[in-house]
Amino acid sequence: MKYRLLVIAASAGLLAGCPIEDDEVQEPVTAGYTVSVNNLTPNQPLSPLAILAHNDQYSMFQIGQSASNSLEVMAEGGDNSNLLAESTNDGNVGYSFSGTGVILPGTSDSVSFTIDSSVAQQLSVASMLVNTNDGFVGETQLDIGSLAVGESLTMNMAVWDAGTEANDESAVSIPGPAAGGEGYNSIRDDNDRVSFHAGVISQDDGLAGSALDATHRFLNPGARLTITRTE
């Protein structure tokens, strides 16, 4: 079923780009990539990466728009499983790959994989800053189909706010080691739109009830992303 959906999507894309009708399916093209994320924050561990390879009909999030439930689950609790399941649940997402684990400040994680580039030409990557309410680094709809073998795409990752949980910085609401509080909660008690994160305030900077200290503050960029085509 999933394969059939992908074939339909690929055909639709083909038709849209070409005035001549052609119901042939694109031939599979094997492409290999390595995705690396380096944590540039002082004291914000990053949750295991969610990496999705997809066509141009999928977007992991949009600025100013409501976050999907899958994104909310990751941004509030660091749990990437719902995002990874989009390769099963969304016909536009051909592949999903998890990072190998938590990325501590000053360290990086790399994931290598091979995909059929006739199915997936774009990449989305996301990870939670776990000492926040719902802050995350993420890039979506990155064009990887045009990378030549050996070429790399490197970019700074700004920190986003999922807008699904109020940034009270309380011990009960922050799941990271600074607090050990709750992760995902289905209640949406913030502005319910994705925006650039305004930063954490912290107890040290006068926010009463904050479980965070000055070391948990961050400025952009929060991480650096490198995508290299290897095959």
Partner: protein, 223 residues
């Protein structure tokens, strides 16, 4: 100095008479959590024109835009310098999470400048300075930072900033800054704010009105 927000009519798009014209769409998204943009100025101009530059003192026209949201002087300045100008594509305030598009026929202009005041700030503005417009058709995405015009101390007091109804101010702050520490245009350090609505240093709330750069995402489509 406190200035009131200018109310500006949408005057559409002026295009210069040049046969080598390029049509571009400029879409500006306010990507902040809770900072507002005053009416935007979008100008295509040539390399010899600069409306602002980090490290250089702001013109009076930039000051009027950055302290009060008034782009009329800046628009005249740009137009007189031969720029193709789109005033106020959002039709007023660009709210957080919203976007507006300006369509320009750039003539032979190959640089793009964008400005709008950030609210609430003393003299903060979102800015793009003389970005080189690619000649190849395509869609290009850029991030814009918040700048400080360097013309007014960031005291963060309600009496020093425009007071539109959609911004909630406290009162009784003693003032964050008393002097301008850098009188040239520079990267804005962001709002400080505090948690005390009737005292403290600032009249704005730290949990509501801070931001980190960048503040806007712009996509430019060259047709």
């Amino acid at each position: 100095m406190k200035m009131t927000l200018a109310s500006l009519a949408v005057v559409g798009i002026f295009s210069s008479a040049n046969t080598l014209a390029a049509d571009i769409d400029v879409t500006i998204t306010n990507a902040t959590k809770n900072i507002y943009f005053t009416p935007l100025l979008v100008a295509a101009h040539n390399e010899s024109v600069s409306l602002f530059q980090a490290g250089e003192a702001a013109s009076p026209e930039i000051e009027a835009m950055a302290e009060g949201g008034n782009i009329s002087g800046l628009s005249s300045l740009a137009t007189n310098a031969g720029a193709v100008v789109a005033e106020d594509p959002a039709g007023g305030i660009l709210d957080p999470g919203q976007q507006a598009t300006a369509s320009l026929n750039t003539g032979n202009a190959d640089r793009l400048t964008i400005t709008a005041m950030l609210l609430p700030t003393n003299d903060g503005f979102v800015g793009l300075d003389s970005w080189a417009i690619p000649s190849a058709p395509g869609t290009y995405t850029i991030s814009l930072n918040g700048y400080d015009a360097g013309t007014e101390a960031n005291d963060e007091l309600a009496t020093s900033m425009p007071n539109p109804p959609f911004i909630s101010f406290g009162s009784g702050g003693s003032g964050v800054e008393t002097t301008v520490t850098n009188s040239k245009v520079h990267i804005h350090p962001g709002n400080l704010g505090d948690s005390d609505p009737s005292g403290g240093l600032s009249d704005i709330n730290s949990a509501t009105y801070r931001w980190l750069n960048p503040v806007a995402i712009v996509t430019v489509t060259v047709k």
